[in-house]
């Protein structure tokens, strides 16, 4: 059984079929790419997968469970975490606290236990600190744990967003243009990190990307989206050499 199965996913915005009959199958542990020209509907797919938009029709199954039309919060609890095209950090909070917000739902102490500082507060806060620091060190952010998130350089902000998403303990990680705005060195480093996350955590990753070097370098399979419809899918190297795909990217 695939980890994520999307069948015939469609969304209509006031007559415009932004995504039309979209299908996707991702196996556990796979690194999967979703590519396509600007406005093809890639982020809309992400928004439907994470419950930001409710699909008009179609079905999304995560690990055998139907999650179609569920709220963002429920879907995160079922196991999908994401990053955003335009970075969305908690910019007035410290780097450590950003990750700890991601760990929030795994801890159980109540409001009262927090207000009165009962033993479980200390125990669970300590666990959270340890887990958050471990995650931060994976991304080489542990030195900056007390910085405000807004004071991090751009590349590190992207990494922090991935760390925060991983903190929610997802089965599937969605990355929306992780390399946007990065220079080639930073992109190369990011590729390594993404690879590392997959290997270290056994994570399944679906990413949207325009940087073909990154896609070609790390994705095992890709799906190409054009005008809301699937243009091609399959093994990355084959798809990227498909004349239809090249045409869609470069125009006639």
């Amino acid at each position: 059984m695939s980890l994520l199965e999307v069948n015939n996913l469609t969304i209509i915005f006031g007559g415009l079929r932004a995504v039309d009959g979209f299908n996707l199958k991702i196996e556990k542990g796979q690194l999967y790419g979703l590519i396509g020209p600007n406005g093809a509907g890639k982020t809309t797919v992400f928004n439907m997968l994470t419950g930001v938009y409710k699909p008009t029709s179609g079905k999304i199954t995560l690990d055998g469970e139907d999650i179609t039309g569920k709220s963002t919060i429920e879907i995160n609890r079922k196991g999908i975490a994401r990053t955003f095209q335009n970075i969305r950090l908690f910019h007035n909070m410290t780097v450590l606290d950003n990750v700890k917000v991601g760990l929030n739902n795994q801890k159980k102490y109540s409001v009262g236990e927090g207000l009165f500082r009962l033993p479980r507060y200390f125990k669970e806060e300590k666990e959270m600190d340890e887990k958050a620091l471990a995650l931060l060190s994976v991304f080489d952010l542990d030195q900056e744990k007390d910085f405000l998130a807004s004071n991090l350089p751009y590349g590190k902000q992207r990494k922090l967003e991935i760390a925060r998403a991983l903190a929610t303990n997802p089965k599937l990680l969605l990355l929306d243009e992780p390399a946007a705005g990065m220079n080639p060195n930073e992109t190369a480093e990011l590729m390594e990190t993404i690879h590392f996350v997959r290997d270290r955590f056994g994570m399944t990753i679906l990413l949207i990307e325009h940087d073909m070097k990154l896609v070609g370098g790390i994705c095992e399979e890709v799906t190409v989206l054009n005008f809301g419809k699937e243009l091609a899918h399959g093994e990355t190297s084959k798809v990227l050499n498909n004349p239809e795909v090249i045409k869609a990217y470069l125009g006639e």
């Binding site: 950090l89 908690f90 910019h91 929030n104 801890k107 207000l115 500082r117 959270m128 925060r164 929610t168």
Partner: protein
């Protein structure tokens, strides 16, 4: 216990004790005139109001303009209890404080559940509307004494009681902010979409902040009523809500220590600057506008950071609980 006695906590405990000893000395030695002594309770009440409002405005990032409404509901509930129940003071008063807080918290739920679906300007207006509705209803009820006010409340509040309650409020709010629930509340302020994406229950945490703030506003109301001995509905109007907002804004949104200092200044201001009492409203207005413009200006942010790094020496870059700069 070891965790409770870290360096920061010890400093806080010692400074609280020193402040209390200082106040007691000033009062008993007669250095503080009777007039200034009478301001000690209002200062404490305003600290409780400001610290609790800071939870919604500074930490949750939602403007509510009905804080005086919660204060009023709590004040009437608690004071009606002591007026009608004839129990010994040391039993009666703590119960009255709890009743005031709980009734205000219940109103917080009743108002919060529908209102928190709205955001920004609409939430502000709806809380303002609720505050005005509460005031109209209180004015027209018989049991509250109507526009003439509720009279015959025992003057139980003294500076020791208010000091202790204010301290409890500060500790509770700051404990909340530094717990997982408080982090969730701050994350909603910083980026609600990201907050949802990591599974934070937005409605629950907004309501939590709103209700806890209402609870402490209610407690402050009970203290206020038992200080003056009379409650009038006109006290709890829109202007009172604005006064608390001015305190929070001046002290820095999301800054608890700032709220405490600024509550003290704003309560003393009209007394210290007697001749300027006509200009009080004008000063409030200018404070609100100037603080907002300064906090938005990048040059001022830079200036503040420079000062902060000079004061703090090594641990300069971006650390700490400082003021929140809210961006669009």
């Amino acid at each position: 216990m070891k965790k409770l006695l870290n360096k920061k906590n010890i400093i806080s405990i010692v400074s609280a004790a020193l402040i209390y000893i200082l106040i007691t000395y000033l009062v008993s030695s007669g250095i503080l005139s009777r007039h200034y002594q009478s301001l000690l309770v209002p200062i404490g009440v305003n600290i409780i109001l400001a610290v609790s409002l800071n939870l919604t405005v500074g930490f949750l990032g939602e403007l509510t303009l009905g804080h005086a409404g919660f204060m009023s509901v709590g004040a009437y509930a608690g004071c009606l209890f002591t007026v009608y129940a004839n129990l010994p003071v040391y039993i009666e008063f703590p119960i009255a404080l709890m009743i005031g807080g709980l009734v205000a918290a219940i109103f917080g739920v009743i108002i919060g559940v529908p209102a928190l679906r709205l955001k920004g300007d609409y939430l502000a207006i709806v809380t303002l509307a609720f505050g005005e509705i509460i005031r109209s209803v209180v004015t027209n009820l018989e049991i509250t004494g109507g526009a003439g006010g509720l009279k015959g409340i025992e003057k139980t509040s003294n500076y020791t009681i208010v000091f202790v309650i204010a301290l409890i409020t500060i500790v509770m709010i700051s404990n909340l902010v530094h717990s997982r629930h408080g982090r969730a509340i701050c994350s909603i302020r910083d980026n609600i979409i990201a907050s949802e994406s990591v599974g934070i229950n937005i409605v629950y945490h907004k309501l939590l902040a709103f209700v806890i703030a209402a609870f402490f506003a209610g407690v402050a109301g009970v203290l206020y009523g038992h200080n003056l001995g009379i409650l009038k509905p006109s006290t709890f109007d829109f202007n009172k809500s604005i006064e608390i907002l001015v305190i929070v804004v001046l002290g820095g949104m999301g800054n608890i220590l700032g709220s405490i200092i600024s509550a003290t200044i704003i309560t003393l201001l009209p007394e210290v600057l007697r001749g300027l009492s006509d200009y009080r409203m004008l000063i409030y207005a200018v404070v609100l506008i100037a603080m907002m413009i300064l906090n938005t200006s990048p040059k001022f942010a830079e200036f503040k950071e420079n000062i902060a790094s000079k004061l703090k020496g090594k641990r300069s870059k971006g650390k700490g609980d400082g003021n929140v700069t809210i961006r669009g």
